[in-house]
Amino acid sequence: MMNDMTPVAVKTTLKDWESDQEVRWCPGCGDYAILKAVQRTLPELGADPAKTVFVSGIGCSSRFPYYMSSYGFHTIHGRAPAFATGIKLANPELDIWLVTGDGDGMSIGGNHTMHFLRRNINSQILLFNNEIYGLTKGQYSPTSREGTPSPTTPLGSVDRPMQPCAFALGAGARFVARGFDTSKNLPEVLKAAHAHQGAAFVEIFQNCIVYNKDRFADFTEKAVADTRQLWLKDGEPMLFNKGTQGLRLNTDHLHLEIVDVVDGDWQAADVLVHDVKNRSVAHMLVELPMADFPVALGVVYDDPKPTYEGAVLAQDEVAREGKQANLAKLFARGQTWTVDAAEDQGPLSNV
């Protein structure tokens, strides 16, 4: 199938992916770091700018396509997944990157995100989560934590936030990963997402320096990285804090818990080995309470299944097999009758 074909690698540099447009994000915005990470990653993937399409909705993150020198389509609020679906079905050879945010992808466009993931359309979805509406000036978003004061919630928000990665898994995503804007590991996460055949969902925690400054500093700051970040690697134990702590599965109550690792003997401490195909543990990892646990980062889940466009094309192919596109036959389908010239009593007059 076409979507499983490995595209020919093209030699590019970071510069080749920069467009001539002036970047219009606020100075210091986390989006700059993500843009650079993407522009740095694409040459490493051998990606071809002519076959790469960045599709976005509306919001700060959705300005992204303008700054890439590939093809790009800045669409309407929340609907980018639906546009991407049509693009991919029309031309499965295109490499689609969907750029969205917590408002765009989880609120107004939640329905489309859900169905895009459920259908499993081969693409990379980058959800910039800054837990706030930036472009509309600071209203709370569906990922804002309880009590978030904002122009629409002056006394603090009262609704519970949603977890984008849990949502993605619930919708049937076959690839779920997490990173954050300034992380040096982000390119690795992006590469894994790109390697995944299917819809690859990547939540990127992003610092909105104007409306939600340092919201994620409690785990993104260098000083706390060791204790607050758990970088997952397939086949490796879930260790953090320089290998002195890890996560263990409490089999009595079926939840994850933190254990101390003595002298690096993680086996003795029963530390769980990360298996990217384990869906149940993936659910647990993305739902770990941020306050009590390190934040699970990297590839949480990666278990490919056939893509939607592949299945549609295969079905179309079978349906077309041996059939000719004969319009005359199509028009005359069903029961027909012939009026002979001999019986002709002249054409109908309209007047």
Binding site: S69, A82, F83, G86, L89, L94, H115, W337
Partner: protein
């Protein structure tokens, strides 16, 4: 129009069985029953046999939005009306000559429409105490003399059907399902139709359950034999409606939904494009998605989206990637698509949007017909968002309109809306099967090399018609970004400075306005190019206006009929044409929307003639309006 049958002729028994001098030119029959009685199927099969007999015809399926409303209720009545004749037929007929009522509710709901002295065929087996109560009859109307002004033919169709299918050992419920075939058998006898095509159809339909095929055929034959033998008691006689004069060639019947599907496929082939159709189930537009899902060999990909917005968004995405994007819905769904249409206008991408109008506002009347989405089509988007709009006037015309919509979309890089309605979508008429060779292709050429050597590609550089190039992603060296934000001319770079927005708004408007010079000039469909009165219609009112004007002109009245296909922009000559008449009346199934557009565009004193009952205009209503205007 021809003298229609009057029941005086009908209730005189004729031994000959063939009527010559007294045979009417057209007959209107309405089949009415419970929504589960199979009336639409009965009507559809009767239509087919009528077409095969060479009559001209028009149909009007009229059914409730409930799939199977509670049995026997007034709101659960489903009806199918057909007008057929040996002369030209262009409406489903004002008043039925024959009403087939399968239960008391069907009789009650439809009786008022029946022509005085028309024929009622009723199934006494269903006129039980319980059913009479459900239909809110205190006394059985078949017995109290209240139907005296009509001809009544009442017998126990239920019992006769049970008797006919007894040998097949079906359960009571299944056996009674054959009632519609019994009734159809009688109707085929009345109008001298062959049974064989129907027998073939039943055999094919029940190929996996031959017992059901046999039972239905037995019921059909029994109904036919019932007419043939003396059992009817001379109340009704056989009528032979001669074939209507038709140009020689191959014909089939076609509904509007079928015609649009075929027209879209033809349009995509003429444009040499694969088609992508994004849809979401909605009454009465779903049939188009169903049809196209079976036409994959024509390069059609169909996508049932998660909602109306996703359906249009995916279609726009496909257009962006180089396919012909098409989406279809009805009013409520079109409302949801509005924002995305704006993006297609802004990004300047081709797209065809089909609106099968139904009664509104909100959920309104899902299965009934109305023309009340004209404002929505022409004006219903945020911003200055000009978009061409085309309206089909009949099932067969919908085929050509679909091709025209595709042509305008790809030649002008614009979304185009095609208006049809529930009436056109479901109604059937004979269609002269066209020769595909007869259409002029309009192949699309995508840009493959830069239009700005030495500089960056200019995706929004306009040609002399104001049209930008279509550039497929995947094309080497032509990378660019598009979107819904205002953009600089030529480069398409994000730019919403004051002069740029002024310039681009003007350019988008000029492009769409200019289409007026690339569509056929408006013709007068009947009558003269100047005169005392013009009836200016659009869409499915065509048949009724046509016949009303024909009758009025036969009486010597100075009235002409203009029927507008290109609603926006309108043909360049339309304004001058309208100024040639003393009076202009605009009949439409809304509260005066096209009238307002005409007044606005041409300062013409167009008068409204409106109907919003969910039912099409009758010829008589329009005739009366013509006479009043010229009195």
């Amino acid at each position: 129009m021809a003298t229609q049958v009057d029941a005086g002729q009908m209730d005189v028994g004729s031994e000959a069985g063939r009527v010559t001098d007294n045979t009417p030119e057209t007959v209107v029959v309405r089949f009415a029953g419970d929504s589960g009685d199979g009336m639409q199927l009965t009507g559809g099969q009767f239509t087919l046999s009528t077409a095969l007999a060479g009559n001209d015809l028009a149909t009007f399926p009229d059914f409730p939005s409930e799939i199977r409303a509670p049995q026997g209720t007034l709101f659960g009545v489903s009806a199918f009306q057909i007008n057929f004749g040996s002369t030209e037929v262009s409406t489903a007929g004002d008043q039925p000559d024959v009403l087939v009522a399968m239960n008391p509710a069907a009789l009650k709901v439809n009786l008022a429409d029946l022509k005085p002295s028309g024929l009622i065929i009723a199934d006494t087996g269903e006129f039980t105490k319980r059913n009479l109560e459900k239909a809110k009859y205190e006394v059985n109307p078949l017995e109290d003399g209240s139907l005296a002004k009509w001809t009544l033919l009442a017998f126990d169709i239920s019992a006769l059907t049970l008797q006919a299918v007894k040998p097949f050992g079906l359960g009571n419920k299944e056996a009674l399902r054959c009632k519609n075939m019994w009734t159809l058998g009688l109707a085929l006898w009345m109008f001298d139709r062959p049974r064989q095509p129907l027998i073939d159809w039943l055999n094919a339909k029940f190929a996996k359950k031959p017992i059901l095929a046999e039972a239905n055929i037995a019921a059909l034959n029994a109904g036919h034999a019932y007419g043939e033998t003396a059992e009817i008691g001379g109340q009704v006689k056989k009528l032979t409606i001669e074939p209507a004069p038709q140009a020689p060639g191959l014909y089939r019947t076609i509904t509007g939904a079928d015609a649009i599907s075929l027209g879209l496929v033809a349009g995509a082939q003429l444009a040499e494009l694969p088609m992508f159709f994004g849809g979401y189930p909605i009454t009465p537009a779903s049939a188009i998605l169903h049809n196209l899902a079976k036409m994959k060999e024509f390069g059609v990909t169909t996508f049932q989206a998660e909602d109306e917005i996703a359906a249009i968004a995916a279609a726009i995405g496909a257009s962006y990637a180089g396919s012909l994007g098409v989406t279809s819905s009805s009013g409520p769904g079109i409302a949801l698509k509005g924002e995305a249409m704006g993006l297609a206008v802004m990004a300047e991408l081709p797209l065809v949007i089909i609106n099968s109008q139904r009664g509104g506002p909100s959920t309104g009347l899902p299965t009934k017909t109305e023309q009340s989405d004209l404002y929505q089509a022409v004006y219903g988007r945020n911003g200055d968002t000009p978009m061409p709009v085309i309206a089909a006037r009949s099932p067969a015309d919908a085929f050509e309109c679909a091709i025209e919509a595709v042509r305008l979309a790809v030649q002008f890089m614009t979304p185009v809306m095609l208006l049809t309605d529930g009436y056109i979508g479901n109604a059937a008429e004979p269609w002269s099967v066209p020769d595909p060779e007869g259409f002029e292709p309009f192949p699309v050429s995508f840009m493959s090399e830069t239009n700005n050597p030495g500089g960056k590609v200019l995706p929004y550089k306009r040609d002399e018609k104001g049209v930008r190039p279509w550039i497929k992603p995947g094309t080497p060296d032509l990378m660019h970004r598009i979107g819904g934000i205002e953009k600089a001319p030529d480069t398409g770079d994000l730019d919403y400075s004051p002069p740029v927005h002024q310039l681009q708004t003007d350019a988008r408007k000029a492009k769409v306005d200019g289409i007026a010079h690339h569509v056929p000039a408006q013709e007068v469909s009947q009558g003269t190019t100047t005169g005392k009165l013009a009836l200016v219609g659009w869409g499915s009112t065509y048949g009724a206006i046509h016949q009303a004007v024909r009758r009025a002109r036969a009486k010597g009245l100075d009235v002409s009929h203009i029927h507008v296909r290109h609603i926006w922009p309108m043909p360049a000559n339309l304004g001058d044409l309208l100024k040639g008449y003393d009076k202009v009346i605009v009949p439409e199934m809304n509260t005066g929307q096209f009238k307002t557009v005409l007044r606005d565009q041409y300062l013409v004193d167009a008068k409204p003639l409106n109907k919003v009952s969910g039912q099409p205009f009758t010829i008589a209503e329009l005739e009366a309006a013509i006479e009043a205007a010229l009195a």
